[in-house]
Symmetry: C2
Subunit: 227 residues, 2 copies
């Protein structure tokens, strides 16, 4: 369960202070399938980075499965993250000059999975996102949408309890997007909690709940009909 | 006018050969407003990079305004590109650790525009895409969609004859996307040729012609009704 209360994030660029999150209250229960939407600059990625244990709030609390993670050290955050969360970055963050299969095995190394099993699971994850033919390609030898799918495979390969994806279909054509959403639905049916940012209403309709951001606040939190 | 005939691009990764473009024939006349669509990996960015004089074809011809540019040197390609084309990359390619306003002035320096005018035009371009409040932010101090809009401003600041944009609204919410498309329509009405890749059908409907790629070929080339 994800519970955030009065979450604030203030970025200090030296020249000015940006109040990116201005008091977010949000609860996501295990097994939910949530879309986060809102205008460019409204705080979606900032919220995802805190929920994903990649960053700390300036003010407010974040309890993940009952544990207060608002003020952990970087190492402690990394440990929680690796154990519970698969994260798809808005800009993919693939390791350059490193093949798809090597990129996808990285989380398995941290999880202590043994060598031969690492390779098998990485191949399965890449095939799952339609990249069985690109295992040995490096990021600069792949299309934008292929890089995006490697990032998705990497987030899923540890079978995390929670998938957090920041615009996972931003560079995918409609058909490939629908295939990815079908994959997420399957994982959600099997119990995985899914929280994803999307700006495409069609994609959001695959989710079960839509949380709308505006200017660092949540302005609407609604259930998707007929899901 | 853009005229490509039997355009091929083969990438050699050492391990294998990828036939990314398998014989493209395409003509785009001055003032057209064209959307390029197709599945992930179908050759859209590869085609855009050749059209944008960022890369050379493996086989086939490309005549830009009557000039054969298929086999120019890197310097010659850069000269044509800077003179005629504004290019928005799928991955933005902003200069890191460099502010928005500095990123946007770069093409003006190459164009020999004088200092004070550089600054004025860069500010105007950034305000045009809604980033008047982010002039002095560096890429890592901006949201994904804000970085994307800096890339658009940079492509437009030289008022090029041709705008080539590879997924310019991929990270923008619907409202901001519509604002950007309205800007492109305005520029197109004023005579700018616009060629843009998009995977969003709603966005493509702002264009006047849709060219559909599949597996490195053009499978459909249609006029958008009621435009
Ligand atoms: N430098 C490269 N080396 C090897 N293969 C490449 C290289 N660049 C692209 N490719 C391959 O060429 C094909 C076409 O790539 P391209 O980037 O043009 O696709 P795209 O239509 O833009 O896809 P997307 O919608 O995902 O951005 C892809 O299968 C890709 O893997
Ligand atoms: N490191 C930073 N330093 C300063 N300001 C920042 C930083 N990161 C983000 N911001 C600002 O905080 C605000 C929220 O950014 P955020 O990335 O969360 O938006 P977003 O909703 O994800 O936008 P998009 O849809 O464009 O990806 C933006 O106005 C942005 O300029
Ligand atoms: Mg974002
Ligand atoms: Mg592409």
């Amino acid at each position: 369960t994800i519970v955030v209360r009065d979450l604030h994030k203030i970025y200090d660029t030296g020249a000015e202070q940006i109040h990116a999150l201005a008091g977010i209250d949000l609860t996501v229960r295990a097994g939910e399938f949530v879309a986060i939407m809102g205008p460019s600059g409204s705080g979606k990625s900032t919220a995802m980075n805190i929920l994903g244990c990649l960053d700390r709030p300036t003010r407010g609390s974040y309890h993940l499965d009952g544990e207060d993670v608002s003020d952990l050290s970087d190492d402690e955050l990394a440990e929680v993250r690796n154990r519970k969360i698969g994260f798809v970055f808005q800009s993919y963050n693939l390791i350059p000059r490193t093949t798809a299969i090597e990129n996808v095995t990285v989380p398995l190394k941290y999880a202590g999975v043994r060598g031969p099993e690492q390779r098998a699971r990485a191949i399965a994850a890449l095939e799952r996102v339609g990249l069985g033919e690109r295992l040995h390609h490096k990021p600069n030898e792949m299309s934008g949408g292929q890089q995006q799918r490697v990032a998705i495979a990497r987030a899923l390969v540890t079978a995390p309890a929670i998938l957090m994806a920041d615009e996972p279909t931003g560079n995918l054509d409609s058909r490939t997007s629908v295939e990815i959403m079908a994959l997420m639905q399957e994982l959600n049916d099997a119990g995985m909690t899914v929280v994803m940012v999307t700006h495409e209403p069609d994609i959001a309709l695959h989710c079960k709940r839509m949380v709308h951001f505006r200017d660092g606040c949540i302005e609407l939190d609604e259930v998707v009909k007929d899901r």
